[in-house]
Symmetry: D3
Subunit: 273 residues, 6 copies
C-alpha cells in the first residue's frame, strides 16, 4: 500500500517556460529508460520477489522513490509548458517563421494534454511495459537495473547540457546524483550476489549440460582481427572456470537446412514439375 | 557488407515436430531479449561506434554471430511446426478435446506464416526496435549487453527445462554456451573500460555539478528497515569516492507544487467562483 | 453493407495550404480520440449489439456518420499539404532558417504519403484499435462514448484556436457542433439506461457479493485533507443505496505478502545460505 | 513523494495455484482498463491539475490507492503461478493432452517472468500509456474516469464469474466494491462540475461559433428508422439549450472533393495523356 | 459520405458456436492483411487520390465494400462466441482438463468484449494503421493492394481448411471469391498503368540519375550459386531497358567507415590514452 | 551463418553534417518500407522456404545484401549527425529562433543515441516486425516484395529530391539503382511462378469451392459510375477463366443480423422490460 506526500522529493521550478525543452525532457519521464520505466521495473521486481526479504524491501524502497521522480518531472514539464504558446501565437500572426519554428513543440502538449506532461518520450511515443523486466532471477535483473540507471543518467546529463535554465539544471543535478547513487547501489547488490554464485546467469544450470567447447571462444566473424586486442580474447574467463580463446576463422558446425514441403492444406508454393 | 554461408553455425534438428513448443521457442527468437534483439543491438552499436577500432570490430563480430543464431532458431521452429497440425486436424474430427487443446499453438503459425517461424515472441507480440539501445557510450551499452545475455541465457535454460526433445536440447546447449561466453565477454569489456574511467556512467560529468549530498544515500521509503542489511546501505561506495549512508526517514526537500491556471485558449477546467 | 456518396457531409476547403497545421490536424483524424476511433468504436458496438434493435441502429447510424468525418479531415489535410513544400524548398536554398523550420512538418507527409493524409496522430503515431472499446454492456460503453466526444470536441476547439484560416475554421465549426450533439446524444442514452438499472456498472452483480464496508468510502491516501471538500466525500451516494464517508487515515487490511521460493527448473535467485 | 507500507490494502491469497486463471487475471492488472491504467491516469491528472486544490488532492489520493491495487493483483498472480507448472510437467511426460492444454498458460509467465506477474493484459499485450488521458479539462477527464471504472468493474465481475477459488473471489469482492465507490465518486465529481458549467465539453467555447443548425440533430444514416425511438431523437437537449430533432434523410452539405495534382518532385502517379 | 444498409452483403451464419475458431477467424478481420487493413488502405488511397477520377471512384467503391466484409466477419465472430463458454463452464466444474483446454479461447472475448468481435488479430494483437499504405503513387499502391489481396485470400483459404462448419465455409467461399476478383482487379489496374509508364516505380525519376552500372545486376552474396538458375539472373530486364547479369562474387565498392569522436557535451565513450 | 566485410557495399559519405536531414533519412532505414524491413522479410522468407533451392538461395542472397544497405544508411546518418548540434547550440545562446528551429531534429538523436543512427523511422517510431511477411506461399510473398521495393524506391527518390548534398545523392543513386534491380528481379520471379500456376493466390484452392457468381464482378458501391471506365470493369479476367462484369447497383445478399442475448454471467446490457 502507498501514501502520498504533497511536497516533492526535490524542487522542480524552472526559471521560465520553455515548451521546446519540455518536449525533450519527456525522454527521462516516459522514455525507454525514463523514470516510469525504473519505477515499474523495481516495483514489479519487488512484488514478484521470492528471495530474501531485504531484496524485496530494497526494491520497493527504490521503486517508491522513482515514483517521486516521475512526479518531479511531470511537475517541471507542466511549468515549462506554462502559458508559453500564447505569446508565440500572438507574434505568429505577424511572423510566419516563428509559427513554423513552433514545430519544435510536441503538438500534443497543446491539443491533447492542455499544457500538461504526458507519459511519452521525446519523440511523442507512448511508454510501454516491454521497457521493463522482472525475471525472477535477481542477478539478471540487477544487471538490467544497472543498465537502466547508466542509460538514464547519461540522458539526464545530455539534457543538462541542452539547457541553461538554472531551475531545470538544479532539478537535474538532483536526479543525476540519485542516478549515480543507484548505479553504486546496483553494483553493490550485484557484487553481493556474485560472491555466492557464479557470475554467469543462471548459475544453477550445470556447466556440463552446455556445449563446453564453445563456451569460452571469441569468434571472429569478419575479415581482419582488431577484435583480438581486447581482454575478451585472451586470459582467464570471468567465471574463473577457463581461459578465453580467439577463433580467427570460425567454421559452420551445423547442417545445411532442408525443410519438408508443406502439407496441401497450407497452400504453400505449388511444386513445379 | 555481409556474406551468407549456407550451413548453420550449429545443428538445428528436432527429433520430431512439436508446434506447441515452437510457440514457446519464439521467445528467444523474437522476444524482448531474443536473438533479433542482440543482433540488432550489437550491429547498431558497432555501426555507430566512435571509439577505438577494436570495439567496433568486436561489436560487429558478435552482432554477425547473432544473425546466425536467429537463423538457427528460425530453422528449428519451422521444423517443429513441420506437418504437425495435419495429424491433429484428422483426429480432431472425432475428438473435441484435442481440437480445443490446439489452442496451445499460435494460430498465426498456420494462418499467417504457413508453418514458418515469425519475428515475434512466445505471446505472438511482434519484435520492435525499442528493445535495443545504442547510446554512444560503450560502458553504458556493455551493461545493456551483459543484461541482455543474462536474460537471454536464463530464458534459454527455462526452455531447455521445458522439453525432452534431444535435438532441441542439443541446439539449446550450444546457444546456452554462447550466451555464457557472451556474458564473460561483456564482463571483460566492462572491466577494461572501468579501469580507465569512473564506473558511474557517464564518467565525464563533473562530480561537483551533481547534488553531492544525495549521491551516496540509500533512502528508506517504507516502514521497516530490512533494506538496511545490504552492501548498498553501508561501506565504501563502488566509485571509491565516498561511503554509503542509510537514510531511515527521508524527508521531502522540494516545494508543494502549484501550477498556474491555463490560458483561455486551452479551454481547461473553468474556474468556479 | 455500406454505400458511398461522392459529396462530403460538409465543406472541407482551406483558404490556403499550411503543412505545419496539417500535422496538427492529424490528431482528430488518427489520434486517441480522433474520428477513426469513434467510427470504429461505434461500428463495433453496433455489430456486437445484443440489446434492443434501436441501440444497434443508432450506433450504426452514428458510426457511419463518423466515417464521413474521417473523409472530411483526410480531404482537408491533403489540401493543407497541397504543393506547399515546393515553395519552401526553393527559398530554403538561400535561407537555412526556413529549412530548419520545416522540421515542423511531419516528414512522412512528404516521404511516405506524398502529400496525403495518414491514419496517424499529430505526433506521427499510428492509430491502433486499443483506443476503442465495445464491452457488450451499453451503459459502460455509452460512458466511453461520452468521454470520446468530450475529449474529441476539446481537441477540435484547441485546433480551432490554433488557426486563423477561415476554411479550416468553417469545417471545424461543423465538427464541433456534431461533437456537441453527440455529447448530448450519449447523455440522453445514458439517462435512458440509468432509469431502468442501477448506475453502477454492471448493475446485475448482486450488491451483497461485493465487500459492502468499503463500497462507499473515500480513502485519503495523503497527508492533508483538501479532498474532503468534494461532493464525493459526504452525502448520499449516486446509486441511492448509501452515504459517502471520508476515511481520513485508511489502514492496510491485507497481509504482508510472502511468496514461496521458485521450483528449481525456473532458475530463480539461488538461496544464499 | 510517496511512501510504501508493507501490508497490502486487502488480502490477496488464493486457495490454490491456477496458472491458467493467472493469465486471465492479468487483464485487470495490465489491460486497457486495468489498475495500471487508472493509477497512471489519476496521477497524471493530479500532477497536471491547474484547478482547485481539492481536485488535485482527490486525484492523487485515488491514484495512490490504485497503486495498491496493482500491488494486490501482482501478488495474487504470483501466487496463482506458484509452483504449478512443475506438477503439470511431470504428468505431461505420460499425457500429451495435458501438455497441449498447458497452451492455456501465458508462456511468458514461465520463460520471461519466472512465475511472476507481468505488466501486460490477458492476451500478453504490454501495457502502454495511450490507455490514459489527462486533458487539462476535468469534466472531460472525469468522464474518462467514470468510463474506466465502469469497464474495470465489468471485467472484474466477469473474472469473478470465471473462478470458484474463494481467496480470489474474496479479493475481487474488495476490488469490485472499490470500483463501485469510484463510479459513485466520479458521478459526484461530474455533477459538481456540471452545476457550474454547461455539460457540453468544453463549456467555454461560444455556442455561436459552432454550426448551430446541426448541433441538435440526430442523423439517420441508414435505411429504416429504429434509431428514432430513443430519447436522443426528440425532446429537450441535455444542455438545456434546444430540442433534439431527427433527420430521416440527411443530405451531403459539402463539396465533391477535387485535389490538385502533386508537384513533380513528389513523383506521384504520372498523368496519362 | 456513407450510408449503411441493414442487411449484410452476404450471409454470415455459423451452424453452431465455436469460440476457439472465433479466435482464429479474427486474423482476417483485424490482422495485418485483414479486412480492416484493406478497407482503410483503399479509402485513404481514394481520399488522397490526385489522379484521374476513375481511380478515386474505384478505390472508394472497393474500400466501401471492404467495410461490409468487416461487418460480416464481426457478425460471424459474435455468433461463434454465442453462449458457448457457459456450457464449457458447467462441465469445467467436474473436468479440469476442459477448463485448461479453454486456453484456446482468447480470454478477452469473454472478459473485455463480452462475446463480441474485437478489432484484433488471431494472437489478440490490436490492429494498427502501419499495416496500410497510401503513397500518392498509384502503381506502387496497386502493388500493395495486389499483395494484400493475395495474403488475405491465402489466409481465408487456410481458415476454410481449419473448419467443417458449413455456415462458416459458405461465408468464406464468398470472401475467397471476392478476394479472387480483387486480385484480378488489381492486376488489371496495374497493367493499365504499366502501359503508359515504365514498370519501375517511380517511372518519373530519370534513369541517368541512378547508378546504372548496378541497376541490372543480381549479386550472389553467398557461397554456391543456385540463385543463378532463375529468370532474374539472365535475359532481358522487365523494364525492357537492359539485360540481367549475375555477379558471382560481388565486391565492396565503398569505404571502410570511420566516424569522428563525439563532441564533449554528448558524453560518449571517453578516449583511452 | 554470416560473415562481415569491413568495407561498405558502396560509399556513404556526406559533404557536410545535416541533422535535420538525418531525421528524414531514417525513413528508409527503419520505416515501414525501409531496409530493415526488406532485410528481415527476405531472410525470413528464405529461412522458412520449403520450395526449390534456388528460391531459398536467391532470397538469402538479397536479404544479405539488404543488411549491407542498413549498414550504409546507419553510417551515413551518423555522419550527418556529426558534431552539428554543437555549433547550433553556441549560436542558440544568442538566437532563440535557431533554438526553436532545432525542433526539426529528432531529439533522440542527441539524448538517446548520442549522434548515432536509430532503428526507427522519420517520425521516430520504432521498427516492428509486423512490417514484414513470410507466408510460405512464394507468389504471394514476391508480390509483397515487389511492393516493398516500389514503395522503398519511391521514398528514396523523394529523399533525393529533398537534399542537394552530393555525397548523400551519390549514395541514394546507388540505392535507387538497386531498388530498380530488385523491382525487376521480383517481376521476373513472379512471371516465372505465374507460368506454372494460376495468378490468383493460392492457385491450389479449387475454383468450384469459391462462390463463382461473384468472382468476376466489379461492384459499384457509390452513386456515379466513373469506376466503370477501367480495365477491371470489362474484358477478359486476368486469370483467363472468365470476363469482368460491372454491377451498377449491387444488392445485399445476406441476412439482417440478429444476435442472441448474452448469458447472465457476461453481465451485458440488462433487458429492459
Amino acid at each position: 500500500m502507498f501514501f502520498h506526500i504533497k511536497e516533492l522529493q526535490y524542487n522542480a521550478k524552472p526559471d521560465k517556460p520553455d515548451p521546446v525543452y519540455a518536449k525533450k525532457l519527456q525522454e527521462i519521464l516516459g522514455g525507454q529508460f525514463g523514470e516510469i520505466t525504473v519505477a515499474m521495473q523495481y516495483l514489479f521486481q519487488g512484488w514478484n520477489c521470492r528471495a530474501e526479504k531485504k531484496y524485496r524491501d530494497m526494491l520497493l524502497d527504490i521503486g517508491t522513490e522513482e515514483l517521486a521522480h516521475v512526479e518531479m518531472l511531470a511537475t517541471m514539464i507542466a511549468q515549462l509548458l506554462d502559458g508559453a504558446p500564447v505569446q508565440h501565437q500572438e507574434e505568429a500572426a505577424q511572423n510566419p517563421i516563428i509559427e513554423a519554428a513552433l514545430g519544435g513543440i510536441n503538438p500534443q502538449h497543446v491539443i491533447v494534454s492542455g499544457l500538461g506532461a504526458t507519459p511519452t518520450d521525446s519523440a511523442g511515443y507512448p511508454w510501454n511495459s516491454r521497457y521493463t523486466i522482472a525475471s525472477g532471477n535477481l542477478l539478471a535483473d540487477f544487471r538490467a537495473n544497472l543498465n537502466a540507471e547508466s542509460q538514464g543518467r547519461l540522458q539526464a546529463v545530455r539534457l543538462y547540457e541542452s539547457t541553461t535554465d538554472h531551475g531545470v539544471r538544479d532539478m537535474l543535478s538532483f536526479l543525476i546524483a540519485r542516478d549515480a547513487m543507484h548505479q553504486n547501489q546496483w553494483m553493490a547488490a550485484i557484487e553481493e550476489l556474485e560472491q555466492t554464485q557464479n557470475p554467469v546467469v543462471p548459475s544453477t544450470f550445470p556447466a556440463e549440460m552446455q556445449k563446453q567447447q564453445v563456451a569460452y571462444s571469441f569468434m571472429n566473424f569478419s575479415k581482419g582481427d582488431e577484435s583480438k586486442q581486447g581482454r575478451w580474447a585472451a586470459g582467464k574467463s570471468f567465471d574463473g572456470e577457463s581461459r578465453f580463446e580467439y577463433i580467427e576463422n570460425p567454421e559452420a558446425m551445423g547442417q545445411a537446412p532442408h525443410l519438408n514441403p508443406q502439407p496441401p492444406y497450407i497452400h504453400g508454393t505449388p511444386t513445379q514439375h
